[in-house]
């Protein structure tokens, strides 16, 4: 099992969600986050005072999938989240030791 964490543009969230559902990934956790990588922020001016807003709003998707689904999910995210400009975000993939469903204590792939 692998955990996928994808940081994406808020404006691409709906297309990414749909692409993942089509790819058969039916569980995810979504958070509104702030951050930046290479993309620099923008400036806002209030009464002549300039503020550099360097942490930009992003959406973070987290999902745990079977090993066989990883490439499918990654491809779905890549195709739906990409605009080609700096700031499209990243996908992190990491191993997961165990998954336990709280309701009935299913473990492993059965719990996904």
């Amino acid at each position: 099992m692998k955990k996928l964490e994808a940081i994406i543009r808020p404006s691409r969230f709906e297309p990414v969600k749909e692409a993942l559902l089509e790819a058969g990934i039916d569980g995810m956790t979504v958070s509104e986050v702030r951050g930046h990588g290479r993309q620099k922020g923008h400036t806002e001016v209030y009464r002549g005072n300039e503020y550099v807003i360097d942490l930009l709003p992003k959406i973070k998707l987290e999902m745990v999938v079977q090993d066989s689904q990883v490439e499918l999910a990654v491809t779905a995210i890549l195709n739906s989240a990409r605009t080609g400009k700096i700031g499209d975000g990243k996908i992190f993939v990491s191993p997961v030791e165990e998954v336990i469903r709280i309701r009935n204590e299913d473990r492993g792939d059965n719990a996904l």
């Binding site: 209030y46 002549g48 005072n49 503020y51």
Partner: protein, 423 residues
């Protein structure tokens, strides 16, 4: 003939009183509340709201008397302590067709909003207890003499009741805006910067709240200025028109300056400009025509923008919400321009022995009036600087003016009031 109460005049003045109260709460409270960070919004609103209660009690007990009872040229006497003698009969010296009690409640609303305006300078760092003591002392030491000099019987600067240096101030440019704006600057300099200023971003937490507040201020200002005619007459209409035109021109002036300099006209710039225009037209509103109002408004929008965006950052003081840049600068500009643009056809305030109108302002050939306006403004500046500094020293030496750094970082909502705005 006994004095006659005009029901139309009285109705208008009661409505105006309510409009001016609405300027403080919710108008100013929202305007300032939106400009601070979200950990300080309730504390900022409370500074306005608390004054609605505190100044009212002071006014009833002795403050009205100090402002408006007969006294000397500088301060009123004790003739109206506990509102003694303030009842349904008019006082023809002030307003011949409305009860003195109406005049009293109308003037109270001005005494409430004036110290509330100062709170823009010490926002986000003053102790609530210190703010209460400061504004109580300020109302007595700065506001009462200034109101008496300009509007009170026998006041030194009172143009319509025989002052020695007649100054034109229709609705409180010197009494309200110069005193509060200059006191705000003194507070900002004395208290020092907010922790982290100017490196930490301190953007307004809700320009939406500020927008609603500024629009309520605009509407309330009709009570402030047109109400200062003290009757529902053609002068009230004239002041209403001048007030509205100045606000509109100033909004364009400020937002236009931003558009030229930053590439964007901002909402905050538009509403700040409107407020600056309303400030500047306040002393002039009952003396100038509509075209002069447009000029005064445009000038206020541009000048106040430059004060806030250029001068403030050059000197580096932390006038958190620009009480000085808008009220001090706008009020002074308005006081001077009143001396330029005042016209006798709008309001024949000066008359010769036969009752013929004499020239009012510089453009009509009364150059001396500009000098009188400058003297009036200078007295307001001087009184505000000395009075505010003295009061700050007293408060600082006794209970301390500023919250601790820890309380400031936590936010005044929690540390001063034990509650949070958004849960």
């Amino acid at each position: 003939m006994p004095p006659h109460i005009d029901s139309g005049d009285n109705a208008w003045m009661l409505v105006s009183s309510a409009l001016v109260l609405m300027m403080t709460g919710p108008g100013l409270a929202l305007f300032y509340g939106g400009l601070v960070r979200k950990k300080n919004v309730l504390a900022t609103m409370m500074q306005s709201f608390a004054l609605m209660a505190v100044v009212t009690v002071l006014w009833a007990v002795f403050l009205f008397s100090l402002c408006f009872a007969s006294g000397n040229g500088v301060i009123g006497g004790f003739g109206n302590l506990f509102l003694n003698g303030v009842n349904g009969a008019p006082d023809p010296d002030y307003a011949a067709t409305i009860p003195l009690q109406t005049y009293m409640i109308y003037q109270l609303m001005f005494a409430i909003i004036t110290p509330a305006l100062i709170s823009g300078a010490f926002a986000e760092r003053m102790k609530f207890s210190a703010m209460l003591v400061f504004t109580i002392l300020w109302s007595v030491i700065v506001y009462a003499p200034m109101a008496h000099m300009v509007w009170g019987k026998g006041g030194l600067l009172n143009a319509s009741l025989g002052g020695k240096i007649p100054t034109l101030d229709f609705a409180g440019g010197t009494v309200v805006h110069i005193t509060s704006g200059v006191s705000a600057l003194v507070c900002a300099l004395y208290m020092g910067k907010r922790v982290g200023f100017p490196r930490t971003p301190m953007q307004p937490h809700s320009v939406v709240l500020s927008f609603i507040g500024a629009c309520l201020l605009w509407v309330g200002w009709f009570g402030f200025n047109a109400g200062s005619a003290l009757a529902a007459n053609s002068l009230a209409t004239s002041a209403f028109v001048a007030t509205h035109f100045a606000a509109a021109a100033a909004a364009l002036g400020w937002a236009g300056m931003e558009w030229i300099r930053n590439g964007h006209p901002s909402v905050l710039g538009g509403i700040s400009g409107a407020v600056a225009g309303l400030v500047a037209i306040t002393p002039a509103s009952g003396f100038v025509g509509p075209m002069a109002a447009l000029v005064i408004g445009l000038a206020a929008g541009v000048v106040c923008y430059l004060m806030v965006a250029v001068v403030k950052s050059r000197f580096g003081y932390d006038d958190s919400l620009d009480a000085f840049g808008v009220h001090g600068a706008g009020g002074t500009l308005g006081a001077l321009l009143t001396g330029v643009f005042a016209k006798s056809w709008v309001n024949a305030v000066f008359k010769d022995a036969k009752g013929n109108a004499l020239p009012s302002g510089l453009l009509e050939g009364n150059a001396g009036q500009l000098m009188n306006q400058a003297i009036g403004a200078a007295i307001a500046w001087g009184l505000a600087i000395v009075g505010t500094l003295l009061i700050l020293k007293i408060v600082d030496a006794t209970i301390g003016v500023r919250v601790t750094e820890e309380e400031e970082l936590q936010g005044l909502d929690l540390s001063q009031h034990g509650e949070e705005a958004y849960n």
